[in-house]
């Protein structure tokens, strides 16, 4: 069991340059598709946030969330979501979309989840820039706690990476996985404290259950660091739970990856 985990970690480590190159050039290739490539990397998430702000912040007059104006509150949470969501949906086809490569080259398949997650990181940095500009405009000043975001960024990467490790293999065995995950994403968005605090006034039980969603820890962490100036040790129990979930997913994912590594070609 741990043998396959070690194998996957080793393969990923040895192919670090491969992962970075593939992520970089794939991102470049998508930029070339449009004339104003980089512009859309900024504009597309900005328009999304604008939509939510108009609907929830102004339209439904949500007002302050946890004592913070709605726009800076939502933009920080949303920047985390804007990274997690495309990784999870795109990650399902991480192996399948490289069909032509894995069927014609001797290729370490287990690095494909990491390339997908690394590619999305580039977009995430653009989103973080927008978020930082907005919250500074709202009067938040950078402080030492902002560095905590880096820790939560690592958390987010490890989480989507280990999730993708499982989902990409399952997609190869069972193609419906991709559709299923995509269908559940909308539900997941509202089950995470991204657009609202995800607190059920009439069902206090639900509040506990919401914390079982690992995304809760990441989104909350982004806000803790950038808005509430809390250190990364603010939620020790959640942290242990989060890393436990990630470790479990990674172990299962690498076992699956190892089992089917040489079989993917026959499944295309």
């Amino acid at each position: 069991m741990f043998k396959s985990l070690l194998f996957v970690l080793k393969e990923n480590y040895q192919n670090l340059y491969r992962i970075i190159s593939i992520a970089k050039y794939e991102y470049l290739a998508t930029l070339r598709d449009s004339k104003f490539g980089v512009f859309w990397s900024f504009a597309s998430p900005a328009i999304q946030v604008l939509t939510y702000w108009l609907v929830f912040g102004i339209g439904m007059s949500r007002g302050k969330q946890d004592g913070i104006e709605y726009l800076p509150w939502v933009i920080v949470g949303f920047s985390a979501w804007w990274y997690i969501s495309p990784c999870i949906t795109g990650g399902c086809s991480a192996i399948h979309s490289k069909a032509n490569i894995i069927s014609r080259m001797k290729f370490p398949v287990s690095i494909l989840p990491a390339t997908t997650c690394a590619k999305e990181l580039i977009n995430h940095f653009f989103m973080l820039i927008i978020a930082i500009v907005v919250i500074i405009a709202y009067g938040f000043t950078p402080n030492i706690y902002w560095l905590g975001t880096l820790y939560y960024l690592v958390c987010a990467f490890i989480f989507v990476w280990s999730f993708t490790m499982i989902s990409s293999v399952i997609t190869m065995l069972w193609r419906d996985m991709k559709t299923m995950v995509r269908s559940f994403m909308r539900l997941l968005l509202y089950m995470s404290p991204v657009l609202w605090t995800a607190r059920f006034r009439s069902f206090p039980m639900m509040n506990k259950l919401m914390k079982l969603n690992p995304i809760y820890y990441i989104v909350q962490g982004y806000r803790d660091s950038m808005i509430f100036s809390k250190p990364i040790t603010a939620h020790p129990h959640l942290a242990i739970y989060f890393w436990g979930v990630c470790a479990l997913m990674l172990i299962v994912g690498s076992a699956l990856m190892n089992k089917f590594q040489k079989r993917f070609v026959d499944m295309l």
Binding site: R18, I102, W174, K262, R263
Partner: protein, 275 residues
Amino acid sequence: MDKEYSIVFKNVSKIYKLKAKNKKFAKDKKNYKHTKFYALKDISFAIEKGSVVGVLGTNGSGKSTLSIVLSGISDIDEGEMIVNGEQALIAINTGLNPQLTGMENIDLKGALLGLSKKRIEEIKESVIDFAEIGDFIYQPVKKYSSGMKSRLGFAINLALDPDIYIIDEALSVGDKAFAQKCLDKMAELKKEGKTIIFISHALPQVRKFCNQALWLEGGQFKEFGDIDEVADHYAEYVEYYNGLSKKEKQEERDRKFAARIIEPKEKKRWHFFKK
């Protein structure tokens, strides 16, 4: 004994599962889902180091399966395969991204093949030289002619520098000049003592270039030996097959197909996922 051989196959089989909808092929209608099919059946041969082997066979005889099995992309199901040295499949157009420039594609495909950053820098000049694309190297590959694209892909692939080259229908993508250029390059490799497995339909090309031949028919081993001998027998067979009437051809194909079907055995784990 293994030292002088680069590739040894001992009773190697490769099995594919047939899709459930091919119900009519199954003999046992109840268990038709688990019908399996020999893509390669009981293949044994040994290729000496430094020899150039042409793989012959009509369509669907398992040549492409052999190439991916040989290159280590896909696992074998039965038997034993011994490979001495590093093998690589030459996949010309794989891994090129049409949106990126030629230069960026050298980086990308080099990385995909697993070359180090240093090695990629080293090969750049020779790749550009071989590909004969000059200043087009800074244009996106989608603007390239198919010949340019093939030369670029082939040249990057050569940088892998394996001990065993596996070339699958690769030369049919470009024009005659490209094929000649590749053949010249491979003649060079031949002199260096590399083992080359050359999979092609073009019998004259195989005759000219290879010194040994392997003939597969219907997923089964037919003949392995000196190029002239095997190629003559193969040419005879193709002539014989083409001379058959439509009905006889159908019978011949059915006969071959039936020999490759495996009766469903016990249920395998995970069959729920593998439709």
